[in-house]
């Protein structure tokens, strides 16, 4: 692949804290290598800002391998930027050309308040998990991995759902700010497996109730979430969430 350098104009969302009103600031970066990742490019800009005695841009990142779900930028009008099934940290600068202008914004959702600049508080996802994304297990020695027979297809579907890294791109992308893909994946990975059976009904009801309480929007099946999900989580998980919710809702005595 051809290696090249580029000069870019960046329009980055700057917001001091949760209370203040933010705005887009324009910055110039030069001599950016096409082999850098997007976050490395932001690192370069931050070094520049520090030498100019300015406040560096705050952004979330951790593994920088596309598996942790920490990075969360809305780049040029798309969650995690222009590449499909890809996180911001794995977006490389070869996705851009010399002279491009790139707009970078934080996830925008009532349930993801901005902490600073591009950092948003995604603890609403943690609270949804706490509401039901767990299973009961006996204490003592770990059970042998293959002690429970599980159908290959169910195991595959559960693993596909479990690939969700909880980054929030689905919420950021959805025009309604809905978290149904995230909750669908988390409910599915347990509903498909025998380990998830004991709390099956209460799980889906509690997780959906918490999701609504956090202020996420409703799913209107535009499927934008699936298209932007860095892990390619299928909207079939949303349908499974709907059917689990309907069944549990009809049979619950509470």
């Amino acid at each position: 692949m051809e290696h090249y350098h580029m000069n870019l104009t960046l329009k980055v969302w700057r917001q001091k804290n949760n209370k203040s009103k933010g705005k887009l600031e324009t910055y110039q970066v030069s001599n950016i290598s096409s082999e850098m990742s997007f976050l490395e490019m932001i690192d370069v800009l931050n070094e520049q800002l520090i030498t100019e005695d300015k406040d560096p841009i705050a952004f979330d990142h951790d593994c920088r391998e596309g598996i942790c779900g920490m990075c969360s930028m809305y780049i040029n009008g798309q969650a995690h930027g222009p590449w499909q099934q890809n996180t911001t940290c794995q977006l490389h600068m070869r996705a851009f050309k010399d002279g491009d202008t790139i707009v970078v914004e934080p996830w925008r959702s009532t349930a993801f308040p901005v902490v600073k600049d591009l950092v948003v508080d995604r603890s609403s996802f943690d609270r949804i998990i706490q509401a039901g994304g767990f299973i009961s297990v006996n204490t003592g020695n770990a059970v042998d991995a293959n002690a429970l027979p599980i159908d290959k297809k169910d195991a595959d579907d559960a693993f596909m759902a479990a690939a969700c890294i909880g980054c929030g791109a689905c919420v950021a992308t959805c025009k309604n700010g809905s978290a149904m893909l995230f909750v669908g994946a988390k409910v599915s990975q347990l509903a498909l497996l025998p380990q998830g059976e004991p709390e099956r009904e209460s799980r889906v009801l509690n997780m959906v109730a918490q999701m609504d309480k956090e202020g996420f929007g409703n799913c209107t099946n535009t499927y934008a979430c699936e298209a932007e999900c860095p892990k390619g989580i299928s909207v079939a998980n949303i349908a499974r969430l709907n059917s689990e919710f309907l069944k549990a809702g009809l049979s619950t005595e509470d």
């Binding site: 009008g77 309604n176 700010g177 202020g215 929007g217 934008a224 932007e228 969430l241 709907n242 919710f245």
Partner: protein, 207 residues
């Protein structure tokens, strides 16, 4: 939304089926008989109440979704490219629905209010429903408005049909592609039938 949507989808089959009787070209005889049967049958009068209830519920569900979803993102993106990840009609159900509601107000004032006045208010009409249709559809602007209404209906159904099944929890490797094809076929057939009614009457193809 999905349940009321499917209910209204079923109603449209009956509506389009009965109205398609005008294409028999028998001077509206079959159509008038069907219309008379529909308006003078108490079971159907009772179902009509259900139909309006379903429609109103569908509208209120839509409004409630709209208001909740607006609250979920109070600060909008400065730059967003939704066309990269979703179809315009899937994102425009509210606007399409509003267009349909405006269309419905016009449509009901043309063909519904009059027949009800006759039925309950004792106002006598000399015209049959078929003659009324001919009269209404002799105006080019009304024909154009009807066609625009049907186009809005087409995109609303195109997304709504398959979306209803997803909401009810049905997404299946084997059946979903079939549901999508049936949905497209349904939207095409219903909307072509509806659009042809004012057009063919205006052009004088229906005798």
């Amino acid at each position: 939304m999905a349940m009321t949507g499917i209910f209204l989808i079923l109603f449209l089959i009956v509506h389009a089926g009965i109205n398609a009787c005008i294409f028999l070209n028998d001077n509206g005889e079959t159509f008038n008989q069907m219309a008379h049967f529909m308006s003078h049958n108490w079971i159907l009068r009772f179902l009509e109440v259900g139909l309006f209830a379903g429609l109103i519920l569908h509208i209120f569900q839509g409004l409630s979704l709209w208001s909740q979803n607006n609250k979920a993102r109070p600060v909008q993106y400065h730059f967003s490219q939704p066309s990269k990840n979703s179809k315009w009609y899937s994102r425009s159900m509210g606007i399409l629905g509003t267009l349909l509601l405006l269309f419905l107000i016009m449509h009901l004032s043309h063909f519904y209010v009059g027949t009800k006045m006759e039925l309950y208010g004792g106002v006598h009409h000399d015209e049959t429903l078929f003659e009324e249709m001919k009269e209404v559809f002799s105006n080019l602007w009304i024909v154009i408005l009807y066609v625009v209404g049907v186009i809005a209906l087409f995109w609303h159904l195109y997304h709504g049909f398959q979306s209803a099944f997803q909401t009810l929890g049905i997404n299946h490797k084997r059946y979903t592609p079939l549901i999508k094809i049936i949905g497209i076929g349904y939207a095409v057939i219903i909307c072509v039938l509806f659009a042809l009614m004012p057009i063919s009457m205006y052009l004088g193809c229906i005798k």
